[in-house]
């Protein structure tokens, strides 16, 4: 049976094959159309990329009105809650925004109660957005797990929080490398630092040792020192093909 017959059943099948070929021709002409207008398509794609970038910038805009009216702590809390994170004021419970992004505005009534802990896990916070966080002068605990836009530049900006920050979690941030971790030495009151699952760190085990040396009074979690070493003897015994089952 000739190959072209496969998938075609009789006359109708043949016409379907012809129709497919026709639509392929149309598909080809769509590609041809796009290829003829290469620079226009490129401009369109650049525009779409810019729009994505602007979306992140919009999320990180400063809330100056709230800052002037209610103080820096309220502004910082509003910023975090708007991004989808959670805030804990001193002496109060955790305030979190629900699945739809709504949250109660009761915290605006707190007069100068400082923010104690911020959970910004998974939020689209970036270098600009850190402005709102750096105004929280009595922040003790900051969780930046899995934040896609937090990078080495952001870590270099955390030094104003050196007096109060005791706990910092950077687990799972894709853009943080050992170069950013080097700038954490300003945080001399840091007691807990979580640096697990940092894909951009080239050698997690060695980095952890160096960070522990850099921050002697801090407990460093994650990035086991054995992670960077090749598994020696176990691998060898597996490689050895022995005819006798072990």
């Amino acid at each position: 049976m000739p190959v072209w017959n496969r998938g075609t059943r009789g006359i109708r099948g043949l016409s379907r094959a012809v129709a497919l070929e026709g639509s392929q021709k149309k598909g080809r002409s769509l590609l041809q159309f796009l290829a003829d207008r290469f620079y226009d398509v490129q401009a369109l794609r650049e525009y779409l990329l810019q729009k994505q970038v602007l979306k992140v910038h919009q999320k990180n805009r400063p809330f100056t009105y709230i800052k002037e009216r209610f103080g820096p702590h309220a502004a910082g809390a509003y910023f975090i809650l708007k991004q989808g994170g959670a805030v804990k004021f001193q002496g109060k419970e955790w305030i979190r925004s629900d699945a739809h992004g709504h949250f109660s505005l009761d915290f605006l009534k707190f007069q100068a109660v400082p923010v104690e802990a911020v959970d910004a896990s998974g939020c689209a916070i970036n270098y600009q957005g850190l402005d709102s966080l750096l105004a929280l002068k009595e922040l003790q605990s900051l969780w930046l797990q899995r934040c896609p836009h937090v990078d080495d530049w952001c870590l270099g900006r955390l030094h104003p929080l050196a007096n109060s920050l005791q706990e910092l979690s950077l687990a799972g941030c894709p853009r943080i490398s050992e170069r950013g971790l080097a700038s954490l030495h300003h945080l001399r009151n840091l007691r807990r630092l979580d640096i697990s699952d940092l894909p951009a760190v080239s050698n997690p085990g060695l980095t952890r040792i160096l960070v522990e040396e850099m921050l002697p009074s801090c407990q460093v979690l994650g990035a086991d020192w054995a992670q960077g070493l090749p598994s020696g003897p176990e691998e060898q015994s597996q490689d050895r093909a022995s005819p006798i089952p072990a």
């Binding site: 990329l49 270099g156 050992e178 950013g180 050698n203 060695l206 040396e213």
Partner: protein, 532 residues
Amino acid sequence: MLRRALQLGLGRGLLGRGLLGRGLGTHRGGSTLGKVEGSGGYRGSWVAPVSSYVTFRTRDPAHDGKTVGRLGEGDQNGKVSEIKKKIQSVLPGGAWNPPYDTSYLPPEHSDVVIVGGGVIGLSVAYWLKRLEKPRGAIRVLVVERDHTYSQASTALSVGGIRQQFSVPENIQLSLFSVEFLRNINEYLAVVDDPPLDIQFNPSGYLLLASEKGAAVMESNVKVQRQEGAKVCLMSPEQLRNKFPWINTEGVALASYGMEYEGWFDPWCLLQGLRRKVQSMGVLFCHGEVTRFVSSSSHTETTSGEEVTLKRIHEVHVKIDRSLEYQPVECALVINAAGAWSGQIAELAGVGKGPPGTLQGTKLPVERRKRYVYLWHCPQGPGLETPFIVDASGAYFRREGLGNNYLGGCSPTEEEEPDPGNLEVDHDFFQDKVWPPLAQRVPAFETLKVRSAWAGYYDYNTFDQNGVVGPHPLVVNMYFATGFSGHGLQQAPAVGRAVAEMVLDGHFQTINLSPFHFSRFYLGEKVQEHNII
């Protein structure tokens, strides 16, 4: 009947010739039955003998003027038509189809020619293309002599960026460049290409000053803070608390950059710029500028003196490894040749005149060789080490996770090495670099030098600051050179300034008029004190 048979026989013969004519054969053409041209039009058809004195030519799309394997008139006509086509394409009005490859030559006309394809030249090209209105209005050509960048200052640089300068313009340039580097994936994004990772270390610079330099350092820090740099002053005791491995003997004051300072990978910046600039339509040429063809005009200044203004019309670009050159007609030339800018300026006629006059003022940029050494010290300072610059001029920084350090020292005027080659002098490390560093960081008493290299500074012998802006006499040559070791960290901002100057006629964002060429004639030094 015989006639009939003859006709048939001849017909078949014609048939045979007609059919076979395309492939084989030597049609002698001498038959009395006339010429069957190299056309398939009579394939198999029987031509009456009498009528075939008329030569018929029909177009066979498969042949198109070429007669394969046919000699005689058919072939000659095909050759003639080929030659006719070639002549038509060379004469004006026809499609340009040169018989040989010319893709390695630069274009014959270009609006802007940038001499030098290092980070400054590419930055100027990028900003020209970015700020031009409308899009695609300016044709920019970048002429680079060495596409491997084997001697370029950019590739051999240590890669530091700081704001701790004494001249406010330098601080502003550096601040903008840091912002550019931070958002490099927004500035230099190319669709479908991976994002750039310039491997920035935000560890800051630590400048140490002895008793003598403490007052100057304080005033410098005040200027830096005014411009927006985040620098803090530290006493020796604070220094000991922060960095216990420093020996603070002889240190009176230290200035530490908390933010916006550090070091990065200059090669990545160069490649990122190159990629983006190519996607924006800038043309590249692998060649060397050997000559400028210019015209002069005489005018009078307001005080009645006669002045000769020059205008460059053509740039002769000699192709690499060849004697061929291409004259490129241009409107502007930008001298971003780095360590070789002095030679390019001389080619343009800068400095040809009696000394002491504006015509006789040469561009005071010359090549100076600087050494960089990489050593390993297992007990050395840890991850938090900033880029430390000692009061004696020696500097070092960490490199990577493995306790390797990069460092060097600027030699004094008397000890300047010969810039003819890039050979490394290892005795210089033993005599001039190691002792002050070992005194400052006692852990460096035991170290092992792993490797070393040398690179050029485009050293401005006048005041060690850049030259930016047009030349007063050669009116269409713009300078962007002479940065004496801090060119890389100012490149994005300088590129934007030159593009503004070219497109708008004046600086818009950062005012670099103190860096104009005329200061060499007027003797106004913009001295930069913090040169490393």
